[in-house]
Symmetry: C2
Subunit: 263 residues, 2 copies
DNA sequence: TGGCGACTCCTTACTTCGTAAGCTAATATA
DNA sequence: TATATTAGCTTACGAAGTAAGGAGTCGCCA
């Protein structure tokens, strides 16, 4: 069961996240640091995926046994949360705060998407119960700042925040999955897809008659023009752009509506 | 590593999903059926979560050992996909096809959300690589039908489909997480939250000064008036409604724009 | 300054998981 | 009827998280 935040003692976990330095204590000097452990775990996760991050593997990477880590970190889930907060450091603050809200928000989402794609294992940590670490918080803060320029009330802004997170995380999951499957099965995603389609034609020969609207939905595929990645990745990225643009259109409409008759 | 579709032989998996009945074969008569196994697994998953669904546990529920299941199903991941497709049966087809697209789409999303909340373990199966079972397909078909009434081109419709899935799945994950945490920790989500807030105040006393926009974002909480569930569940549901409404506003704008100047 | 006690890190062991291997008994087809 | 093939069992392997306990190390107070 990975991905549930807040299972352990909240005080201990928050203390770790915010790097409260502990008072000097008796006993041998710690040879490791939480940061070193988290770094090693992130390297492992980036290279081999979250399943490659076992306590033993992380310990081994640091020249220790797996059990040695338990002096620094309550357990594996807590380590995951620490990793999660850490990579949010990469989300640099928005350049200038004087840009129009739409550009700022759209940029923010793109940067979050890029972060998730650099570290796909972050998608295993649920957005539901925020980890509430410093870097995650400051990422949220910069979005919150951008959204205040809309003039919308807090309740509406919360709706936008949730929608943005869902859109970004869903897209990231789709793209990451396509990549992972390609890596695991050893075949390109195009091969994977064509094999699957051939098998489907065999098993369900009347697919076109039974699901006509679905077939029409996938008609008219656009050529891959830009750098939106390999075969299966491209449609996900285009859908992301379109979905985001429609969502922001809706937000803009709400902004116009609200500035006409505020309150 | 749960949740990756299409790991096993695609032909075998599709044959299982679409219930191709195999030709009579030598050997003892099978005492079980795939359906019985899938049903047992779903009951277990609903009751104890996906972690309660081990091959041994499912076998035991059917009076067999875990290994007995491998005659029917290639492995655990495949079983998960079968479970996933099965519960999509609950997504009844949309009532009348003559309703306006917005109502039809909104209803569809609500029904999908309800399904995910009845079976939160479905969220472990990625939307990225569709399982392509019969029930999942017919759920997608009814959405595709509703979207054709918009008159939007396929590429735009695909964007809407993706956005809808992301919103629904993200919301479902949020709500499910709140429920799971309450069940696991034994404390109500209100207790969980207040403890966490207290701990945060201790560890980061200057939180309000450091993250003012975040604090303002969470200001002005609305009273829980309707049946949107317990404490932490309510904001997720309200955010869902607001987000969905803004998204559909954006779609409506695109519809208006497109019917003015099609092509 | 001596020693108490808390600490780090190790080894060992327990549990649970998915599933590979190989056995026996049952059965459709030649 | 002989044979090949299957279902379902037992056994076992490797990997996972982590509990338990011991050995050595150091801060703090008498």
């Amino acid at each position: 069961m990975t991905g549930y935040a807040g299972r352990s003692e909240p005080r201990r976990m928050l203390s770790l996240l915010w790097r409260e330095d502990p008072p000097p204590r008796p006993g041998p000097k710690p040879a490791l640091t939480v940061d070193a452990i988290v770094d090693a775990a992130i390297e492992l996760a980036d290279a081999r995926g979250m399943d490659g991050v076992s306590m033993r593997a992380v310990g081994e990477r640091l020249g220790r046994t797996g059990m040695a880590l338990y002096s620094y970190v309550p357990g594996r889930d807590s380590l995951t949360e620490l990793m999660y907060d850490r990579v949010h450091e990469e989300l640099a603050a928005a350049p200038g705060s004087s840009r129009p809200w739409r550009a700022a928000v759209s940029d923010w989402a793109d940067r979050l998407l890029a972060m998730h794609l650099r570290h796909p294992w972050t998608l295993r940590v649920s957005f539901a119960r925020p980890v509430m670490g410093p870097h995650e918080q400051s990422a949220l803060e910069s979005l919150a700042v951008a959204l205040e320029d809309t003039g919308l009330p807090p309740s509406s802004r919360r709706g936008v925040v949730a929608a943005l997170f869902h859109q970004v995380r869903g897209t990231a999951a789709t793209v990451a999955e396509a990549r992972a499957a390609a890596a695991v099965t050893g075949q390109t995603d195009r091969q994977w897809w064509s094999r699957r389609a051939a098998a489907l034609r065999q098993v369900v020969p009347d697919f076109v008659e039974r699901f006509p609207a679905t077939v029409r939905l996938h008609a008219d595929p656009e050529p891959v023009t830009e750098d939106d990645g390999p075969f299966l990745e491209a449609p996900a990225r285009r859908a992301y752009r379109r979905g985001m643009s429609m969502l922001l259109d809706g937000v803009a409409a709400a902004v116009a509506d609200h500035s006409e008759s505020p309150g």
